[in-house]
């Protein structure tokens, strides 16, 4: 069964400097039980799409269904199915962590769910902060509470909008273990993230967004297969000649060439030798999602 169905979703914002099309005919489906990644650079439209899904915003055209229910006309039913972790680090300064969770449960008409709230606190490493005021928590702790608040009603579909932006390594580990467990137990997960490594490790399928359009949509393994399979990586103190630089990805001293086979790698190394350049720390690695991402984003220019 389809968990989330995006059907030609478009969104145009009218501002002082004219209309801006944030989403341009987004269509794809996410199946029940999937762990799905939504990737894209800043301004690609990820958060706009999530906001329309969550009913925080209306689409200009098209529609979204969750478990076959329309997010606009059947909003109340849809919100019981969805658990959304917002991107902004928001909190209510009047209450403790446990109060925030109890109120959030209450809004869904749920009481006496202390066992589940305790489990959430435990799994997200918040047990010793349960009675602390929200104001006293660090940014990372507040982020954990956001995740817990989204899960109070055990939503079948979990939506995380960049939940690990600016968060320490420990939380990322805790969070992913827990979300992966929920996914194994049958919850559908839709994740937007900047950390490509995370989506590669967790998401079975990925959609890439750019300028409000879907520019890639495939199984993570197929996306990786279709891209150049290897990357030649080394460090260089000098400048690359322009004809080589055009094919490379340069980050400071680090130079990376996408390559399909050994012959191509040999070709690059020979070109370096001819230019009289000395490559240091040479390595050949498997292409990862970041390479695919940059390929796709480059091609979609």
């Amino acid at each position: 069964m389809t968990a989330i169905s995006f059907q030609s979703v478009s969104k145009t914002f009218s501002g002082a400097r004219g209309a801006f099309k944030a989403l341009d005919g987004i269509s794809f489906d996410i199946q029940e039980g999937e762990f799905f990644g939504l990737l894209g650079p800043n301004g690609a439209g990820k958060t706009t799409l999530i906001s329309i899904l969550a009913g925080l915003m209306q689409a200009s055209s098209g529609r979204i269904q969750v478990h076959g229910l329309d997010v606009q006309t059947q909003a109340a039913q849809v919100r019981k199915i969805l658990g959304v972790v917002p991107q902004e680090l928001v909190f209510d300064p009047f209450f403790t962590v446990r109060e925030a969770l109890k109120f959030q449960s209450g809004y869904f008409g749920i009481t006496r769910n202390d066992a589940w709230l305790d489990e959430l606190l435990e799994c997200l490493g918040l047990a010793d902060k349960a009675d602390s005021n929200m104001r006293q928590l660090s940014g990372g702790m507040k982020r954990r509470v956001l995740v817990a608040q989204a899960l109070v009603h055990k939503p079948p579909v979990i939506v995380l909008d960049e939940p690990t932006a600016g968060v320490d390594v420990e939380l990322r580990q805790t969070l992913w273990q827990f979300i992966a467990r929920l996914n194994r137990e049958g919850h559908t997960v839709l994740l937007t993230t900047h950390y490509l490594e995370e989506s590669e490790a967790l998401c079975a399928r990925i959609a890439m967004l750019k300028n409000g359009r879907v520019v890639a949509l495939d199984n993570t393994s197929d996306l990786l297969k279709n891209a150049s399979s290897n990357v030649l990586r080394f460090k260089l103190d000098e400048q690359l000649p322009p004809e080589l630089a055009a094919q490379a990805r340069v980050t400071g001293r680090i130079v990376q060439f996408p390559a399909h086979d050994a012959a191509q790698i040999e070709h690059y190394l020979a070109a370096l030798r001819q230019a009289g350049l000395v490559a240091q720390d040479v390595e050949i690695r498997k292409a990862d999602l970041e390479d695919v991402f940059l390929d796709v984003m480059g091609a979609a220019k």
Partner: protein, 251 residues
């Protein structure tokens, strides 16, 4: 507990946790008014033949504090949640516009009634209290608090920033409550200003409320009830409409 009750309870707990600010402070302000105006003007102004000035002042101060605090509760809660972004926690729930309306307005009524009761308790020592019609007192207290709580909700939805909110409060709510006959009977005003006062909806709330204490008023309590009740239906319909379309809270 159903959803709207959880939201109502949250809204009550929100002001209760800072009750020094939200209840004790306005009670103290009313006490100062009582000390100064009551002391200065007792014996110099006669409002109704049978009622001393200080006794006249008590219900006015109670109602003024009740109205202002009911307004402050829903408006500040809404603006603060919008600005801090935590309104999203409610926006993501299945709560509909009737639930939002009931929770915000009833919490404002509770705050208004708590402050009103506090003011009554500290000012009642200054003058003998008469209670002629307790039902009128209760009806106008509840209706007035609901009216201002609803206006506060509308203002909170409309305002994007705290300074817009304080404009609303300082230039509309405060003048209208002060000029509604809290400190004087409008019969002591020149005819022109009497006419103007009749256009102020707050006048009817305070006049009707006062009738409950003394059994005398500037206009009939039934007229006041009709006007305030009618106005409330319109204000409530507007608030419900804004909540239903997600005015300024859903893009």
């Amino acid at each position: 507990m159903t959803g709207w009750q959880a939201l109502f309870y949250k809204e009550v707990l929100r002001f209760w946790k800072v009750s020094a600010q939200t209840i004790a402070a306005p009670v103290l302000t009313a006490l100062l008014y009582m000390l100064i105006f009551g002391h200065l003007l007792e014996g110099r102004i006669t409002v109704y033949d049978s009622v001393g000035y200080t006794a006249f002042l008590v219900p006015g101060l109670v109602m003024m504090s009740l109205l202002q605090n009911a307004f402050a509760n829903s408006s500040s809660s809404m603006v603060q949640s919008k600005m801090m972004g935590n309104l999203v926690f409610i926006l993501l729930t299945p709560l509909g516009h009737w639930s939002w309306f009931a929770a915000y307005v009833l919490a404002a009524v509770v705050r208004g009634m708590a402050v009103g009761l506090g003011v009554l308790l500290v000012t009642v020592w200054f003058a003998p209290l008469t209670v002629m019609w307790p039902v009128w007192i209760l009806v106008f207290a509840l209706l007035g608090a609901a009216m201002l709580g609803t206006l506060g909700l509308i203002a909170g939805l409309w305002a994007d920033k705290f300074d817009q909110m304080s404009t609303f409060q300082n230039f509309l709510i405060t003048p209208m409550t002060f000029l509604s006959g809290v400190f004087y009977s409008i019969h002591s005003l020149p005819p022109f200003w009497q006419q103007v006062s009749h256009l102020n909806p707050f006048f009817y709330m305070i006049d009707g409320f006062r009738y409950g204490f003394f059994g005398v008023s500037d206009v009939s309590p039934w007229l006041s009830l009709g006007l305030v009740g009618g106005a409330y239906v319109l204000v409530a319909a507007l608030a419900l409409h804004l909540l239903r379309i997600g005015y300024k809270i859903r893009g």
